[in-house]
């Protein structure tokens, strides 16, 4: 009786996100009836749905790292800047004649390094995350421009371009990258104890430390992963346009990534997280973009809609409202013996 199936809990966790995604896709279909139509031409899949999955890749990648960071009650504002830096690194490497593999590795290493810097500021120097990551957010684009020497650094390296614009078995590479990384990361956090330990730190760091959890190392790791994901997103964006644009690559994507995580139902106050839900959140954002694009509405509405989305989520997530909901639910009859006496410890 103490063993409920984990499957059903995952599904019920992401139900709200699936419903929103469904509505967003439905709107797409209303606007463009053959939205789901997928063509197969020149060995490559085409179609609006494919576009959503493809264009959503950078935000989806960022959302993976951001989910972990937010689960620890943190935030990473620097991911957009890190994208610019790593894109610049990859571009300058191939321009200098290195192979695409080396360039990719260098870019990922740079991203990891940036993440580590953030992690050390947060975990060792105990600077609040929003402040700590602000430094790199401000300076990052300057560093990227330093690498590209202020130009849009274009390149023609086939291997690197393939990462952003190529296909594997007809599927655009970015789609495969974010899905594979997402699955790997989900396995990494749920098949090891990592996910639970991260949640534990986010919920109550003091209790966690007292239970012997090495919160410092875990925090650094989480920011490192976020930097790594940002680097990958940066490489894809650069590869897609065949150039590194230090000014515009990843501009404001940190906000989209945070939004994706929040739409995914993950609390900004840390704790329980679901990477899957964040990825669906990223797809929701991209689907909304797509509706606006397809419907011929001016793209300007995009921001207004995002703002309204945030506001709606804010209201739902706000401590006051959730307290109200909790009270409502608490008045319903329930039969669990452990709950019969909600002991109030306010007596003293």
């Amino acid at each position: 009786m103490l063993m409920p199936g984990p499957k059903s809990s995952v599904l019920s966790r992401i139900t709200p996100q699936l419903i929103i995604l469904g509505v967003a896709l439905l709107l797409n279909v209303i606007v463009l009836p053959d939205f789901f139509h997928i063509d197969f031409r020149n060995g490559r899949m085409f179609g609006n749905l494919i576009d959503v999955l493809n264009r959503g890749a950078p935000v989806a990648l960022l959302a993976i790292g951001m989910t972990l960071v937010i689960a620890t009650r943190g935030i990473d504002l620097s991911v957009g800047a890190v994208m610019a830096i790593s894109g610049a690194v990859a571009a300058s490497m191939v321009v200098d004649g290195h192979g695409w593999g080396t360039a990719l590795l260098a870019a990922l290493a740079t991203g990891g390094l940036c993440g580590m810097w953030n992690g050390v500021l947060v975990a060792v120097l105990r600077i609040q995350p929003i402040v700590a990551t602000l430094v790199l957010m401000v300076a990052g684009r300057g560093i990227a421009q330093l690498i590209t020497e202020g130009k849009i650094l274009t390149f023609m390296n086939e291997g690197l371009i393939h990462l952003g614009a190529g296909t594997i078995a007809g599927v655009p590479t970015p789609i495969l990258i974010w899905i594979v990384l997402g699955v790997l990361m989900m396995l990494a956090v749920r098949r090891t104890a990592l996910g639970m330990l991260i949640e534990s730190i986010g919920i109550n760091e003091r209790s966690s430390r007292l239970a012997g959890i090495n919160s410092r190392v875990l925090l650094i790791c989480v920011y490192l992963v976020s930097g790594f994901c940002a680097a990958l997103a940066g490489v894809i964006v650069a590869a897609d346009i065949k150039g590194a644009d230090a000014n515009n690559a990843g501009l404001w994507l940190e906000l989209d990534a945070i939004l994706a995580v929040v739409i995914g139902g993950n609390s900004l106050l840390g704790g329980r997280f679901s990477i899957l839900a964040s990825l669906i959140g990223a797809l929701i954002i991209q689907s909304v973009n797509s509706v606006i694009l397809l419907s011929g509405l001016p793209p300007e509405f995009n921001l207004v809609i995002k703002a309204l989305l945030i506001l709606a989520i804010l209201v739902i997530q706000s401590p006051r409202i959730s307290y109200l909901l909790y009270m409502l639910r608490a008045t319903e009859p329930r039969q669990d013996p452990g709950q019969s006496k909600p002991k109030e410890e306010a007596a003293q």
Binding site: A132, V138, S318, P319
Partner: protein, 330 residues
């Protein structure tokens, strides 16, 4: 009299003097009234917005919306002056009311929903930028004789620098900001909020009205900054002033205000603005250095000041801990 809390401000001042001396040493022509006048003119809109940001940060919050509000103000003015025949002064008043109310509404959400300011103002950022887009996506020029009148107002220093109206507006904003922050009950309440919400509430600080007031000021000053920006560029453009909030935050921190709130001075922000302006001017004078060095140097300064603040906080806490013997989280 010099006190321990003045230390960051003194360091800011010293940084400014040092930077100015370095500039003067490298390029003696930088020590002219013309450069000083341009420093004030070019940074007027940023300075005004940074005053509002100082209040927000002093109270322990953050406002990510100001860049968008500045752009919205510019577009709003440009469109309303093109479409209607109302006098710019009326338009100014109207837009100030809108932006102040906008800021106040964000403050109300922050207070009543108990949500982190950065996410609420993030929504505000999208909303304001979106509203600007909806008004117009193109750059709308402003051609009104009243604008020409305002733009031609300047005081020419004997050695050739032109101190323009908008620089004066910024200096005036700083002066008023200094008085409000340090010499009014509201200002004291802002500091109290930044020192600790719980204690402030127990001491009778009206949290709701103070929080709403703070963000209303920030929104209103962003509106004023937008007016100044429209005078500076003679246009309204919805893609303008992207990321100004970051520059404003950097100026506040370099000005010696603690990002976690409670400590700092409005006057410090003024010097923060000037330091950032100097860096930019130096790079222009140099000619060989690229403009992106500005960001890197500002980022470095930001980091240095955050570290400095952390060090100061640690020092005070260590002193307290030896007295109370309480266990602080390591």
């Amino acid at each position: 009299m010099i006190r321990s809390t003045h230390l960051p401000l003194i360091i800011t001042l010293a940084t400014f003097v040092l930077a100015f001396a370095l500039c003067g040493y490298a390029y003696p022509s930088m020590l002219s009234t013309r450069v000083v006048a341009n420093l004030l003119t070019d940074n007027a809109f940023l300075g005004i917005a940074a005053v509002g940001m100082t209040f927000v940060i002093l109270s322990g919050g953050i406002d990510l919306s100001i860049g968008s509000v500045i752009a919205f103000t510019g577009v709003f003015l440009a469109v309303i002056l093109r479409e209607t025949s109302i006098h710019p002064l009326m338009a100014f008043a109207l837009v100030l009311v809108i932006t102040t109310a906008f800021g106040g509404a964000m403050g109300a959400l922050i207070h009543y929903l108990e949500m982190p300011p950065f996410i609420v103002t993030l929504a505000g950022m999208f909303l304001a930028r979106g509203a600007a887009y909806v008004l117009s996506t193109e750059s709308v020029p402003i051609t009104h004789e009243f604008y020409d009148v305002l733009q031609d107002l300047y005081w020419k220093a004997p050695s050739g620098g032109r101190f323009r109206l908008i620089g004066g507006v910024m200096v005036l904003t700083f002066l008023v900001g200094i008085i409000v922050a340090h010499r009014t009950r509201f200002g004291q309440n802002v500091y109290a909020l930044g020192g600790g919400q719980q204690a402030a509430r127990l001491m009778g600080v009206p949290l709701a009205s103070t929080t709403i007031g703070i963000y209303a000021i920030s929104g209103g000053l962003a509106g004023l900054s937008g007016i100044v920006f429209s005078l500076y560029t003679s246009a309204g453009y919805s893609l303008a002033t992207v990321g100004v909030e970051l520059d404003a935050i950097a100026a506040v921190v370099i000005g010696g205000t603690l990002l976690t709130g409670g400590y700092g001075f409005v006057a410090g922000t003024f010097f923060g603005i000037l330091i950032m302006g100097l860096i930019q001017t130096y790079i222009v004078f140099d000619g060989t250095l690229s403009s992106w060095w500005t960001k890197i140097v500002i980022g470095g300064l930001l980091f240095a000041f955050i570290l400095l603040q952390k060090g100061l906080t640690w020092a005070t806490q260590a002193r307290q801990r030896t007295v109370t013997g309480s266990a602080a989280p390591s």
